[in-house]
């Protein structure tokens, strides 16, 4: 009396197939789970037994061996309750075993037979599609997250009894969820808007450029100048996510947050407090989960009050910023979480915060200011293409200045620039200007000696390093994109220099 069905396990954000094998044999009655189960899986013995009995079925009085194959891989979580219960029932001949070979199962059982949601569902459904499965039985509460996949029928299960009825009928497809046509254009409803920010023309323009090229940006300014306000609104002008990106984002988020029903269509905005731990920021744990840098994938990681962050945390961002992913290695396996985010930093210019704002009020000595900026290492600063000083508004400007453009208008421009870049960059691998390599930059400048020369002059005047120069050129490419210009012009380089030559430090 052997039976086998398919389920999934998660490694990082990827799913792998796990076969649930059951063998009922003679011997002392009992339920044994083998194949490196975690604590939660071992406890499934109690849940499964109660759920089966409470749903009106018989729990076989046999020696029951359950093997989770591949048996040498550690497995965690409560997601195998449903498949184990079904496998036991099928092995003991209580349900119709016909449709099992095309199906896979995920779900946690309550003692009364109800099915509870699980985490990381979307990765498993994606894997099931790749394995050409026809049906996927998922917890009803989770079903919305998966039902936009056209290739597979999602069957939402609310309790064990109902699930068994569906299986017994032999045609689960009839009970599948309606396929949702995902409306990803609906992500423009942001509660906050750029029109609420008065003045700050330079900073707004810089942010627009950052959104075009996914440039990392540093906002420097005295307290109360609106750094945080600006940073929170960046999301509202970034172009919408496409379906593949939505899936990526949902995959990561569903590993950490409470199990959700819907797919995420908005770009994430992560704003960790500076007391965040290393594992919280980068990701980690015994069974590694993504940190804030991965949860900010495709969105924004905003470090407010940068000077308060321990420098080792900021240094940890180096590699993820370069590779756009973070690899967390534990003695058994490596977990790779994508972390393609836009880094937004905000800081005061000095300890008292008034440097450059009200010079007689700033009490910091040159040395204190230097020490203040020393916390930020060169390699991190090199990865920040745009730095902009946010000045405080004068009191009368709060009342007088008209409110600026709204986010929708700005986003339209950003999206147009993104479309222009796409058309203009046929065969180019890079997705964003900020990711351009040295060779790419050379290509942009190719055949234009004057441009090269003026870039050099600008670099000399503002005492920029080679890295500083290359980041000016990346930003000027974004300016050109925004303008719809095929080539970078001298004026673009001049403007870009204005976002780099901030005197506040070094």
């Amino acid at each position: 009396m052997f039976f086998k069905l398919d389920s999934f396990a998660l490694i990082g954000i990827d799913a792998v197939k796990v076969a649930i094998e059951v063998h009922l044999s003679r011997g002392l009655p009992g339920l044994y789970i083998v194949g490196l189960p975690g604590k939660a899986i071992n406890e499934a013995r109690q849940r499964v037994r109660s759920a089966i009995l409470n749903s009106g079925f018989e729990f076989p009085v046999k020696k029951i061996i359950i093997n989770l194959s591949p048996a040498d891989m550690r497995k965690e979580g409560s997601l195998y309750d449903l498949p184990i219960a079904l496998a036991i029932l099928a092995a003991s001949g209580q349900i119709n075993p016909n449709c099992f070979s095309d199906s896979c199962f995920i779900g946690e059982l309550s003692l009364d037979g109800n099915i509870n949601p699980v985490r990381g569902l979307i990765s498993m459904v994606e894997k099931a599609v790749a394995l050409k499965k026809k049906y996927f039985f998922v917890p009803g509460i989770n079903a919305g997250q998966a039902s936009f996949f056209k290739e597979i029928d999602i069957i939402a299960c609310t309790n064990l009894k109902e699930t068994i009825e569906i299986i017994d009928r032999g045609d689960p497809g009839g009970n599948a969820c309606r396929k949702i046509c995902l409306d990803i254009s609906g992500n423009d409803s942001h509660k906050i808007d750029f029109s609420e920010v008065k003045g700050q023309f330079k900073a707004k323009r810089a942010i627009e450029l950052a959104a075009v090229g996914m440039h990392n940006i540093l906002l420097i300014g005295p307290p109360g100048s609106g750094k945080t306000m600006l940073a929170r609104r960046i999301i509202s002008i970034m172009p919408g996510l496409d379906l593949q990106q939505c899936i990526e984002v949902t995959k990561i988020q569903s590993l950490c947050s409470q199990p959700a029903n819907d797919i995420i269509t908005k770009r994430p905005f992560k704003n960790p407090h500076h007391t965040i731990s290393r594992a919280g920021l980068i990701g980690g744990g015994v069974y590694p989960v993504p940190g804030d840098i991965s949860l900010a994938h495709r969105g924004i990681l905003f470090l407010d009050e940068l000077s308060q962050f321990p420098s080792h945390l900021v240094e940890d961002l180096r590699q993820p910023l370069e590779n756009r992913e973070v690899v967390i290695t534990r003695n058994q396996t490596s977990y790779c979480f994508p972390s393609n985010f836009m880094l937004v930093l905000a800081t005061n210019p000095c300890h008292c915060g008034f440097w450059g704002d009200n010079e007689s009020r700033c009490k910091c000595t040159e040395r204190e200011i230097k020490r203040f900026w020393k916390n930020l290492s060169g390699p991190i600063m090199d990865r920040i293409d745009i730095r902009v000083f946010v000045s405080r508004l004068k009191e009368e400007d709060y009342i007088n200045t008209e409110s600026g453009e709204n986010s929708e208008k700005i986003r339209e421009r950003v999206e147009r620039a993104a479309a222009f870049r796409k058309n203009n960059s046929k065969g180019r691998k890079i997705k964003y200007n900020s990711e351009a390599s040295a060779a790419q930059i050379n290509e942009w400048l190719a055949g234009n000696e004057r441009l090269r020369k003026s870039a050099f002059m600008v670099g000399k005047k503002f005492k920029l390093s080679a890295r500083g120069l290359s980041s000016i050129i990346k930003v000027s490419r974004s300016i050109a994109d925004l303008e719809g210009s095929k080539n970078i012009k001298e004026e673009h380089i001049l403007e870009a220099a204005g976002y780099r030559a901030v005197k506040a430090y070094g």
Binding site: G199, Q200, F201, K202, K204, R205, P349, G356, D357, E359, S360, K363, T365, E366, R367, K370, F389, S391, L393, K394, D397, T401, M457, V458, K461, I479, L482, E491, H492, L494, E495, A497, G498, Y499, A501, V502, K503, A504
Partner: protein, 385 residues
């Protein structure tokens, strides 16, 4: 080995006679250091004298100074390539000799101090504004260019700006320290220290190893003003080291010049107070040089002071009335016209010129590259004058 030098060191560091006592004896004996030293050596051990020695506590390196201190100092100086000079040496600066308590011993690095040299001091706030820094650089550069040596205190801010520009030009610079010659203070100016050594002198009256105690600095200020014919004060608060230097300069009968500043800036208070009480208000190098016409006469300049080739008034962009610089395109001109001599914020310029941020930034940067406007403070722009 110079026996007199060793005797002076012995009086200072073994007998612990302060420079003020030593100098009083020096004056009493008709400016004869040999006689003064002889006086103290002769009466060594007399309790009366011991009690007299109260001044110049900063001169003592450690409480554990011993009898072989002079030898140790001399050895140290030899080993580290420092120079030493005592009062009575034939090239001891003559201006310094005229002050109330000239330092009996000078340690130096770099060029040996000269007997006759036209020095002018530039002193001011450590926490200076951008304006103060610009003024210091400009005055220092122009004066050094015509061969005048700039003396200052190697502090941050105004002092550093003055030194930095002076060492690039003919006149060079003299830095007067408030600590031993082997200590780099403030550490930020270490690079500057090296540059001054190459084109000028770093001087101190404090023995090697003396830490930069706060009490040392007013003491060394008398040397700054003492070395000079005049003292220029830029951005001094009401109770600042620069003001002390200014007062000392008056007592030493030196010219005192003060650069005016904004009445809203508390750092201008000191300078303005000096001006009110008779210091000369200066707007440029010419104002400084006018006071020294008689010196140039002696030197065979036939009554004419040296021509300041790159004087402030002849600098690019300067006229009594603001004038439009030539060679600007219409857009640049439009932006330039909205900017005055007072800093104006980016947003205000943008509204006044009717340009969006991107275009405006591009034009501002191009004007900044041409030295027509400058950013001061951040996000505020004003004309370069």
């Amino acid at each position: 080995m110079d026996k007199l030098l060793e005797d002076i060191l012995c009086v200072l560091y073994v007998m612990k006679i302060g420079p003020s006592d030593l100098m009083r004896e020096y004056r009493r004996n008709g400016d004869d250091i040999r006689a003064a030293v002889h006086y103290f050596k002769k009466s060594e051990g007399a309790g009366r004298l011991r009690q007299m020695t109260f001044g110049g506590s900063g001169m003592h390196r450690k409480k554990t100074d011993t009898d072989d201190e002079p030898a140790r100092i001399l050895e140290y100086i030899k080993k580290h390539g420092l120079g030493i000079m005592h009062i009575g040496n034939k090239d001891y600066p003559s201006d310094l000799l005229n002050i109330f308590i000239p330092p009996p011993i000078l340690y130096y690095r770099g060029n040996r101090p000269e007997k006759k040299r036209f020095n002018i001091a530039i002193v001011g706030s450590r926490r200076c504004s951008h304006y103060g820094r610009e003024v210091a650089s400009y005055l220092s550069r122009s004066l050094s260019r015509i061969g005048i040596t700039i003396v200052s205190g190697l502090a941050l801010g105004i002092d550093a700006s003055a030194h930095r520009e002076a060492v690039k030009e003919k006149g060079g610079s003299i830095a007067v320290l408030g600590n031993g010659p082997d200590i780099f203070y403030p550490p930020e100016n270490r690079g500057l220290y090296g540059k001054i050594e190459k084109n000028g002198t770093v001087i101190t009256e404090f023995a090697p190893g003396t830490p930069p105690l706060r009490t040392n600095f007013p003491i060394r200020n008398r040397i700054i003003s003492g070395l000079c014919k005049g003292v220029i004060i830029i951005e001094a608060g009401q109770r600042s080291g620069a003001m002390i230097t200014g007062e000392l300069a008056l007592r030493q009968d030196r010219e005192v010049f003060a650069v005016p500043g904004s009445i809203f800036n508390p750092k201008s208070r000191g300078c303005h107070k000096l001006i009110k009480s008779g210091a000369k208000l200066i707007e440029g190098v010419d104002d400084v040089l006018d006071e020294f016409m008689h010196l140039f006469k002696d030197k065979g300049h036939a009554g004419k002071r040296p021509l300041v080739k790159n004087g402030y008034r002849k600098q690019k962009g300067y006229t009594d009335k603001p004038e439009e610089p030539s060679g600007l395109d219409p857009m640049q001109l439009k932006v330039f016209k909205t900017i005055g001599c007072r800093p104006k914020s980016f947003d205000d310029i943008s509204i006044a010129a009717g340009l969006d941020a991107g275009k405006l930034l591009k034009i501002l940067l191009s004007l900044e590259m041409e030295h027509i406007i400058r950013e001061d403070p951040v996000n505020h722009y004003c004309r370069y004058e």
